[in-house]
C-alpha cells in the first residue's frame, strides 16, 4: 500500500480521500489555492501546499504546480478526485512519466472514453446496445438531417468531447435541428476546443441509470450494481439512489453484466461508471463512461458496504480485488441529496458567502460528506456544492423518510441552500412511488411556477 499520496482536488472529495487515507494509514498531502487557505481539506490532511491563486486554471488545473508539489512532498501517487484533472489523460500520462502513480484508470482508458463517439463504438463492439444515431462524427448539417429522418425526432446533438451538458442541443424538427447543429458545434468548440458533434435519438421519459464498476487490472472486473440518477436539472444530478426503483432483478443483472463487459473490452483499470439510458420498456442503451470516482459514489458505498475510494487506493497500489461479484450484495436502499449553495427560487443562482451556523444531521443511517464548517467562507471560484447527505434504510421508503428527517435537522446558516428544494422533491407523490424520469425536475418546477402565478 502507498505510504503517502497527494490529493489534487478540494472540497468534500478531497476530504473523502483524506478520510480513506487516514483509515489505511496513508499520509495525505493537500494542495490548495489562495482562496482555499481556510478550507477544511488543508486542515485535515497531514500536509498542505499552496499551489496558486484562486482561479482554477492557475491552481487546481495547473499541472506543473501540482506535479511540482507532488515532487516536493515526495508522494508516491496522486488522487485526482472528480472534476479538475480527473479525466485529463495528459495529466495521467505526466504523472506516470514523473514516476508518480495516477490513482485512476490508464491514460488510454481516459482518452478512449473521453471521445464520446469512440466510446459508443467500444460499447457496440462489446455487444451493448447504443442509442440509435449517427454512429460517428457528423460534419455537415445535411448529414444530421438525414440521420434525424432515419431515427425519428426528437434528436440530441452532442459534443464528441462533451460532458456536463455542454455542447448539447435538443431538436424536434428539421428547422430546429439545423440551428441546434450549428450552436452545438460552436459551443463544443468554445468549451472543449473541439467542434466535433454527433447525433442521437432523444429517448423520452427515460431514466438515467449508471453502473459502478471496479477493475483491478489483473483480469478481475466486478460491478457494484446501479445508481438511478434521473433527478437532474440541466444535466446536473440532484438526487441519486441505489438500487433503482424501476429495475427488475432481471434487468439489474443484465445491465450490470453489460457494464462489466464494456470495462473488460477496453482493458479498464480502477473505479469507473458506465452510464445508460433506460426507456419505458426497460431497454437500456449505453450513454457514456465516466473514468473517475463520482460525486454520487457514497450511494453505492452505503448500500453495498464497499469503500470505493479505499478500493481505488488498493488497486492503484497494485493489489488485486479481494471482492468477487457474488460478495457484492444490495443491503437495503440508499439515497443521496446534493446540497448546493443555491437559491432555487431564483433559478438556482449560486449563493456563496459565509456560513454563520453549521449543524450536521446525525443518528442512525445518515452519512454527511461535507467540507463546510461554522465560519467558513464559501469561495465563489468553485462549484456550489456544499454537502452530500446520504441516507440508508432497509427499504426505499425508510431511506427516503430518513432523508427527510436528516434534512429537517440540517442547519446551514448564512447562505441559501437547495435543502428546501430537496424537501419538495422528497415529498412529491410521484417521487415517493419511484415513478420519475429525467424530466421530473423540469415538470416539478413548472408546477411550482404555476402555483406562484
Amino acid at each position: 500500500m502507498f505510504e503517502k499520496i497527494l490529493i489534487a482536488n478540494r472540497g468534500e472529495i478531497a476530504i473523502r480521500v483524506i478520510r480513506a487515507c487516514r483509515e489505511l494509514g496513508i499520509r495525505s498531502v493537500a494542495v490548495y489555492s489562495e482562496a482555499d487557505v481556510t478550507s477544511l481539506h488543508t486542515r485535515f490532511a497531514d500536509e498542505a501546499i499552496c499551489i496558486g491563486p484562486a482561479q482554477s486554471a492557475k491552481s487546481y488545473l495547473n499541472i506543473a504546480a501540482i506535479i511540482s508539489a507532488a515532487e516536493i512532498a515526495d508522494v508516491e501517487a496522486i488522487h485526482p478526485g472528480y472534476g479538475f484533472l480527473a479525466e485529463n489523460a495528459h495529466f495521467a500520462e505526466i504523472c506516470e512519466s514523473c514516476g508518480i502513480r495516477f490513482i485512476g484508470p490508464r491514460p488510454e482508458n481516459i482518452r478512449l472514453m473521453g471521445d464520446k463517439v469512440e466510446a459508443i463504438k467500444a460499447a457496440k463492439r462489446a455487444g451493448v446496445t447504443v442509442i440509435p444515431g449517427s454512429e460517428g462524427v457528423v460534419t455537415d448539417r445535411d448529414a444530421a438531417l438525414r440521420i434525424a429522418k432515419r431515427v425519428g425526432y426528437p434528436v440530441m446533438v452532442k459534443a464528441v468531447a462533451g460532458g456536463g451538458g455542454k455542447g448539447m442541443r435538443l431538436a424536434h424538427n428539421d428547422v430546429s435541428l439545423a440551428n441546434a447543429f450549428l450552436t452545438a458545434q460552436a459551443e463544443a468548440e468554445a468549451a472543449f476546443g473541439n467542434p466535433a458533434v454527433y447525433v442521437e435519438k432523444r429517448l423520452d421519459h427515460s431514466r438515467h441509470i449508471e453502473v459502478q464498476i471496479l477493475a483491478d487490472g489483473k483480469g478481475k472486473v466486478i460491478h457494484l450494481f446501479e445508481r438511478d440518477c434521473s433527478i437532474q436539472r440541466r444535466h446536473q444530478k440532484l438526487i441519486e439512489e441505489s438500487p433503482s426503483p424501476r429495475l427488475s432483478p432481471r434487468t439489474r443483472a443484465k445491465i450490470g453484466r453489460a457494464a462489466v463487459r464494456i470495462a473488460e473490452a477496453i482493458g479498464y483499470v480502477n473505479a469507473g461508471t458506465v452510464e445508460f439510458l433506460l426507456d419505458r420498456d426497460e431497454n437500456f442503451y449505453f450513454l457514456e463512461m465516466n473514468t473517475r470516482i463520482q460525486v454520487e459514489h457514497p450511494v453505492t458505498e452505503m448500500v453495498t458496504q464497499v469503500d470505493i475510494v479505499k478500493e481505488q487506493l488498493r488497486i492503484s497500489s497494485g493489489h488485486g480485488l479481494k471482492l468477487t461479484q457474488s460478495d457484492v450484495r444490495l443491503l437495503g436502499h440508499a439515497i443521496e441529496c446534493r446540497v448546493n449553495a443555491e437559491d432555487w427560487e431564483r433559478d438556482f443562482s449560486s449563493c456563496p458567502g459565509k456560513v454563520t451556523m453549521y449543524h450536521a444531521p446525525g443518528g442512525p443511517g445518515v452519512r454527511v460528506d461535507s467540507h463546510v464548517y461554522a465560519g467558513y467562507d464559501i469561495p465563489s471560484y468553485y462549484d456550489s456544492m456544499v454537502s452530500k447527505v446520504i441516507c440508508v434504510g432497509h427499504t426505499r421508503e425508510s431511506a427516503v423518510t430518513r432523508m427527510q428527517r436528516a434534512l429537517d435537522e440540517y442547519v446551514i446558516g448564512g447562505i441559501k441552500t437547495t435543502i428546501p428544494f430537496h424537501r419538495l422533491i422528497l415529498s412529491d407523490p410521484r417521487f415517493r412511488k419511484g415513478k420519475y424520469s429525467t424530466d421530473f425536475v423540469d415538470e416539478l418546477l413548472e408546477v411550482q411556477k404555476k402555483k406562484k402565478a
Binding site: A45, I51, G52, S68, A69, G375, Y376
Partner: protein, 155 residues
C-alpha cells in the same frame, strides 16, 4: 487621555466584548476597533483540526494575515511551487546578498519545478533586507522568499 487610560479602555473592551470604541473631543479623536471577525475565523480554522499533525510547509494563511499590517512590496514571494536555490550551482555564490541593491531585472534565485530551473527576478527596485528561504528548501506558491526595502533606504 494617556496610554494608561487607553489600556484601561482596551481591557474594558476585552472584558465586555466591545468591538468598537470611538471618542471625539475638540482636537482629539480616539477610535479603537476590535475585529473579532478575522480572529474568530482564524481560531475556528485552527481549532477545527485540533488533532491534525503540524503542517510542515507553512500555510500562507498567516502570511496573508501578516502582510496586511505591513506596507506593500515588502516581500518577494515565490510565484510557483518548487525548490528554492539561492545560487546557479552549489559551488557558485548566491545571486544576491543581503544589503545588495536590485532592480526589476535582477535574478534573485532559481526555483526548480518539474526539473525546470526557473530564474526568479526581483521585479522591482529595492534593497535586499533578508533571505527568507534556505538553499534547497521546498517553497509553495506565495511563500515569502526575500525581504526587500526601498532603494538605498537605511534599514
Amino acid at each position: 487621555m494617556n496610554i494608561k487610560e487607553i489600556k484601561e479602555i482596551v481591557t474594558l473592551m476585552n472584558e465586555n466584548e466591545i468591538t468598537e470604541f470611538i471618542i471625539e473631543r475638540e482636537g482629539f479623536k480616539l477610535s479603537i476597533k476590535k475585529g473579532p471577525q478575522f480572529e474568530r475565523a482564524a481560531v475556528i480554522t485552527q481549532a477545527i483540526a485540533p488533532a491534525a499533525p503540524a503542517i510542515p510547509i507553512p500555510a500562507s494563511a498567516g502570511q496573508t494575515g501578516e502582510a496586511k499590517s505591513e506596507p506593500e512590496g515588502t516581500f518577494i514571494v515565490s510565484p510557483m511551487v518548487g525548490t528554492f536555490y539561492s545560487s546557479p550551482s552549489p559551488d557558485l555564490p548566491s545571486f544576491v546578498q543581503v544589503g545588495q541593491e536590485v532592480d526589476e531585472e535582477t535574478v534573485v534565485c532559481i526555483i526548480e519545478a518539474m526539473k525546470v530551473m526557473n530564474e526568479i527576478k526581483a521585479e522591482r527596485k529595492g534593497k535586499i533586507l533578508g533571505v527568507l528561504a534556505e538553499n534547497g528548501e521546498a517553497v509553495e506558491f506565495g511563500k515569502k522568499i526575500f525581504k526587500i526595502g526601498d532603494p538605498s533606504a537605511a534599514k
